[in-house]
Protein backbone atom coordinates (compact mmCIF):
# COMPACT_ATOMS: atom_id res chain seq x y z
CA UNK A 1 0.00 0.00 0.00
CA UNK A 2 1.45 3.27 -1.13
CA UNK A 3 0.46 6.78 -0.15
CA UNK A 4 -0.08 7.67 -3.77
CA UNK A 5 -2.40 6.68 -6.58
CA UNK A 6 -1.26 6.67 -10.20
CA UNK A 7 -3.45 6.37 -13.27
CA UNK A 8 -2.26 6.16 -16.86
CA UNK A 9 -4.64 6.66 -19.75
CA UNK A 10 -4.13 6.81 -23.49
CA UNK A 11 -6.30 9.41 -25.16
CA UNK A 12 -6.93 9.53 -28.91
CA UNK A 13 -6.70 13.30 -29.01
CA UNK A 14 -3.82 15.76 -29.48
CA UNK A 15 -1.95 17.05 -26.44
CA UNK A 16 -3.31 20.55 -27.00
CA UNK A 17 -6.90 19.23 -26.89
CA UNK A 18 -6.25 17.35 -23.66
CA UNK A 19 -4.45 20.35 -22.14
CA UNK A 20 -7.49 22.52 -22.86
CA UNK A 21 -9.85 19.98 -21.32
CA UNK A 22 -7.73 19.96 -18.18
CA UNK A 23 -6.93 23.63 -17.75
CA UNK A 24 -9.93 25.49 -19.13
CA UNK A 25 -12.15 25.69 -16.07
CA UNK A 26 -15.37 25.27 -18.04
CA UNK A 27 -14.11 22.22 -19.92
CA UNK A 28 -12.61 20.75 -16.73
CA UNK A 29 -15.98 21.25 -15.09
CA UNK A 30 -17.80 19.33 -17.81
CA UNK A 31 -15.96 16.04 -17.40
CA UNK A 32 -14.94 16.36 -13.76
CA UNK A 33 -18.52 17.39 -12.88
CA UNK A 34 -17.86 20.58 -11.01
CA UNK A 35 -18.98 24.14 -11.63
CA UNK A 36 -16.04 26.47 -11.07
CA UNK A 37 -16.29 30.16 -10.25
CA UNK A 38 -13.40 31.17 -12.48
CA UNK A 39 -10.25 30.20 -14.38
CA UNK A 40 -7.35 28.20 -12.95
CA UNK A 41 -4.45 30.47 -11.98
CA UNK A 42 -1.19 29.13 -10.50
CA UNK A 43 -0.96 29.97 -6.82
CA UNK A 44 -4.62 30.87 -6.55
CA UNK A 45 -7.58 29.12 -4.98
CA UNK A 46 -10.12 27.64 -7.35
CA UNK A 47 -13.65 27.45 -5.96
CA UNK A 48 -16.91 25.99 -7.06
CA UNK A 49 -19.30 23.18 -6.30
CA UNK A 50 -19.73 19.60 -7.42
CA UNK A 51 -22.34 18.94 -10.11
CA UNK A 52 -22.24 15.16 -9.63
CA UNK A 53 -25.89 14.10 -9.17
CA UNK A 54 -26.76 13.91 -5.49
CA UNK A 55 -23.72 15.90 -4.40
CA UNK A 56 -24.60 19.37 -5.65
CA UNK A 57 -24.15 20.78 -2.14
CA UNK A 58 -20.50 19.75 -1.97
CA UNK A 59 -18.04 22.61 -2.32
CA UNK A 60 -14.96 22.36 -4.48
CA UNK A 61 -11.81 24.11 -3.41
CA UNK A 62 -8.32 23.59 -4.75
CA UNK A 63 -5.10 25.56 -4.85
CA UNK A 64 -3.58 25.56 -8.31
CA UNK A 65 0.13 24.72 -8.21
CA UNK A 66 1.80 24.39 -11.61
CA UNK A 67 0.62 25.06 -15.12
CA UNK A 68 3.42 24.20 -17.55
CA UNK A 69 1.69 24.41 -20.92
CA UNK A 70 0.90 21.05 -22.42
CA UNK A 71 3.13 19.26 -19.91
CA UNK A 72 2.02 19.56 -16.29
CA UNK A 73 -1.03 20.82 -14.45
CA UNK A 74 -1.26 20.35 -10.71
CA UNK A 75 -3.30 21.41 -7.72
CA UNK A 76 -3.69 20.56 -4.06
CA UNK A 77 -7.08 19.83 -2.54
CA UNK A 78 -9.06 17.87 0.02
CA UNK A 79 -10.76 15.11 -1.91
CA UNK A 80 -14.47 14.50 -1.40
CA UNK A 81 -15.19 16.99 1.41
CA UNK A 82 -18.80 15.93 1.53
CA UNK A 83 -19.72 16.79 5.13
CA UNK A 84 -20.38 20.53 5.60
CA UNK A 85 -19.90 20.19 9.37
CA UNK A 86 -16.29 19.12 9.07
CA UNK A 87 -13.52 21.68 8.60
CA UNK A 88 -11.46 19.92 5.96
CA UNK A 89 -8.95 22.77 5.81
CA UNK A 90 -7.39 21.32 8.95
CA UNK A 91 -6.43 18.16 7.10
CA UNK A 92 -3.35 17.73 4.97
CA UNK A 93 -4.27 18.31 1.34
CA UNK A 94 -3.26 15.86 -1.34
CA UNK A 95 -1.44 16.84 -4.52
CA UNK A 96 -2.96 15.99 -7.89
CA UNK A 97 -0.67 16.09 -10.91
CA UNK A 98 -1.66 15.71 -14.56
CA UNK A 99 1.30 15.01 -16.84
CA UNK A 100 0.88 14.95 -20.61
CA UNK A 101 3.04 13.20 -23.17
CA UNK A 102 2.63 13.11 -26.93
CA UNK A 103 2.31 9.60 -28.38
CA UNK A 104 1.85 8.18 -31.85
CA UNK A 105 -1.88 7.83 -31.24
CA UNK A 106 -2.48 11.06 -29.34
CA UNK A 107 -1.72 11.68 -25.69
CA UNK A 108 -0.58 9.68 -22.70
CA UNK A 109 -1.99 11.24 -19.56
CA UNK A 110 -0.51 10.25 -16.21
CA UNK A 111 -2.46 11.36 -13.17
CA UNK A 112 -0.98 11.00 -9.71
CA UNK A 113 -2.53 11.86 -6.41
CA UNK A 114 -0.11 11.82 -3.50
CA UNK A 115 0.22 12.87 0.12
CA UNK A 116 -2.40 10.62 1.67
CA UNK A 117 -1.64 10.23 5.31
CA UNK A 118 -4.83 10.12 7.34
CA UNK A 119 -8.27 8.95 6.47
CA UNK A 120 -10.23 12.16 6.93
CA UNK A 121 -12.98 12.06 9.54
CA UNK A 122 -16.46 11.31 8.27
CA UNK A 123 -14.95 10.01 5.06
CA UNK A 124 -15.76 6.32 5.54
CA UNK A 125 -19.47 7.05 5.66
CA UNK A 126 -19.17 9.20 2.54
CA UNK A 127 -17.40 6.38 0.75
CA UNK A 128 -20.41 4.16 1.22
CA UNK A 129 -22.90 6.88 0.37
CA UNK A 130 -21.08 7.78 -2.83
CA UNK A 131 -21.14 4.15 -3.81
CA UNK A 132 -24.91 4.17 -3.53
CA UNK A 133 -25.14 2.45 -6.90
CA UNK A 134 -23.25 -0.49 -5.45
CA UNK A 135 -25.54 -0.71 -2.42
CA UNK A 136 -28.68 -0.51 -4.55
CA UNK A 137 -27.41 -3.49 -6.50
CA UNK A 138 -26.78 -5.37 -3.25
CA UNK A 139 -30.26 -4.61 -1.97
CA UNK A 140 -31.72 -5.94 -5.23
CA UNK A 141 -29.73 -9.14 -4.82
CA UNK A 142 -30.93 -9.57 -1.25
CA UNK A 143 -34.50 -8.89 -2.27
CA UNK A 144 -34.28 -11.42 -5.08
CA UNK A 145 -32.83 -14.00 -2.72
CA UNK A 146 -35.44 -13.36 -0.03
CA UNK A 147 -38.41 -13.53 -2.38
CA UNK A 148 -37.05 -16.69 -3.98
CA UNK A 149 -36.71 -18.55 -0.70
CA UNK A 150 -39.95 -17.39 0.94
Amino acid sequence: MDNRIEKRIELAAPVSRVWLALTDHREFGEWFRVKLDGPFVPGQVSRGHITYPGYEHVKWEAVVQKMEPERLFSFTWHPYPADPKIDYSKETPTLVEFRLEKTATGTLLVVTESGFDKIPSGRRLEAFRMNEGGWTEQMKNIERHVTKTS
Partner: protein
Protein backbone atom coordinates in the same frame (compact mmCIF):
# COMPACT_ATOMS: atom_id res chain seq x y z
CA UNK B 1 -0.17 6.75 9.21
CA UNK B 2 2.27 6.46 6.31
CA UNK B 3 4.62 8.74 8.17
CA UNK B 4 4.46 6.38 11.16
CA UNK B 5 5.18 3.38 8.94
CA UNK B 6 7.88 5.11 6.95
CA UNK B 7 10.60 3.99 9.31
CA UNK B 8 12.48 0.70 9.10
CA UNK B 9 12.43 0.02 12.84
CA UNK B 10 8.71 0.61 13.07
CA UNK B 11 8.02 -1.56 10.04
CA UNK B 12 9.99 -4.37 11.66
CA UNK B 13 8.05 -3.89 14.90
CA UNK B 14 4.75 -4.11 13.04
CA UNK B 15 5.95 -7.25 11.26
CA UNK B 16 6.84 -8.83 14.61
CA UNK B 17 3.54 -7.80 16.18
CA UNK B 18 1.59 -9.36 13.32
CA UNK B 19 3.05 -12.70 14.34
CA UNK B 20 0.97 -13.07 17.49
CA UNK B 21 -1.58 -11.62 19.85
CA UNK B 22 0.52 -9.81 22.48
CA UNK B 23 4.16 -8.94 22.92
CA UNK B 24 6.09 -7.43 25.80
CA UNK B 25 8.76 -4.79 25.30
CA UNK B 26 11.39 -7.39 26.20
CA UNK B 27 10.19 -9.66 23.44
CA UNK B 28 10.17 -6.78 20.98
CA UNK B 29 13.64 -5.63 22.00
CA UNK B 30 15.09 -9.12 21.53
CA UNK B 31 17.39 -9.37 18.58
CA UNK B 32 17.46 -5.60 18.11
CA UNK B 33 20.42 -3.29 18.58
CA UNK B 34 18.08 -0.69 20.05
CA UNK B 35 17.45 -0.02 23.72
CA UNK B 36 14.12 -0.59 25.50
CA UNK B 37 13.71 3.15 25.57
CA UNK B 38 14.14 3.50 21.82
CA UNK B 39 11.74 0.64 21.11
CA UNK B 40 9.20 2.19 23.48
CA UNK B 41 9.42 5.52 21.65
CA UNK B 42 8.73 3.79 18.35
CA UNK B 43 5.80 1.90 19.86
CA UNK B 44 4.28 5.18 21.05
CA UNK B 45 4.41 6.56 17.49
CA UNK B 46 2.57 3.48 16.26
CA UNK B 47 0.08 3.78 19.11
CA UNK B 48 -0.67 7.39 18.17
CA UNK B 49 -1.91 6.31 14.74
CA UNK B 50 -3.84 3.38 16.19
CA UNK B 51 -1.86 0.58 14.54
CA UNK B 52 -0.68 -0.67 17.91
CA UNK B 53 -2.46 -0.85 21.28
CA UNK B 54 -0.96 -1.41 24.67
CA UNK B 55 -2.58 -3.63 27.25
CA UNK B 56 -1.55 -3.44 30.91
CA UNK B 57 -0.67 -6.79 32.39
CA UNK B 58 0.15 -6.21 36.04
CA UNK B 59 3.19 -3.92 36.06
CA UNK B 60 3.99 -4.59 32.43
CA UNK B 61 2.60 -3.29 29.17
CA UNK B 62 2.02 -5.71 26.33
CA UNK B 63 1.45 -4.63 22.76
CA UNK B 64 -0.82 -5.78 19.99
CA UNK B 65 -1.31 -4.97 16.33
CA UNK B 66 -4.61 -3.48 15.15
CA UNK B 67 -5.31 -4.03 11.43
CA UNK B 68 -8.22 -1.59 11.27
CA UNK B 69 -6.34 1.62 10.46
CA UNK B 70 -4.50 -0.01 7.57
CA UNK B 71 -7.66 -1.68 6.31
CA UNK B 72 -9.47 1.65 6.54
CA UNK B 73 -6.74 3.41 4.60
CA UNK B 74 -6.78 0.69 1.95
CA UNK B 75 -10.56 1.07 1.57
CA UNK B 76 -10.23 4.83 1.30
CA UNK B 77 -7.49 4.59 -1.33
CA UNK B 78 -9.55 2.06 -3.29
CA UNK B 79 -12.45 4.48 -3.21
CA UNK B 80 -10.33 7.42 -4.42
CA UNK B 81 -8.84 5.19 -7.10
CA UNK B 82 -12.28 4.25 -8.35
CA UNK B 83 -13.34 7.90 -8.48
CA UNK B 84 -10.32 8.65 -10.67
CA UNK B 85 -11.14 5.72 -12.98
CA UNK B 86 -14.62 7.13 -13.49
CA UNK B 87 -13.49 10.75 -13.92
CA UNK B 88 -10.80 9.80 -16.45
CA UNK B 89 -13.29 7.68 -18.37
CA UNK B 90 -15.46 10.78 -18.66
CA UNK B 91 -12.42 12.81 -19.76
CA UNK B 92 -11.67 10.24 -22.44
CA UNK B 93 -15.20 10.46 -23.85
CA UNK B 94 -15.04 14.22 -23.64
CA UNK B 95 -11.79 14.73 -25.59
CA UNK B 96 -12.28 11.93 -28.09
CA UNK B 97 -15.66 13.30 -29.28
Amino acid sequence: MFAALGDETRLLLVAKLCGGPLYSISQLTQGSKLTRQAITKHLRVLERVGIVHSVRSGRESRFQFDPHPMEGMREYLDFVSKQWDEALSRLKSFVEK
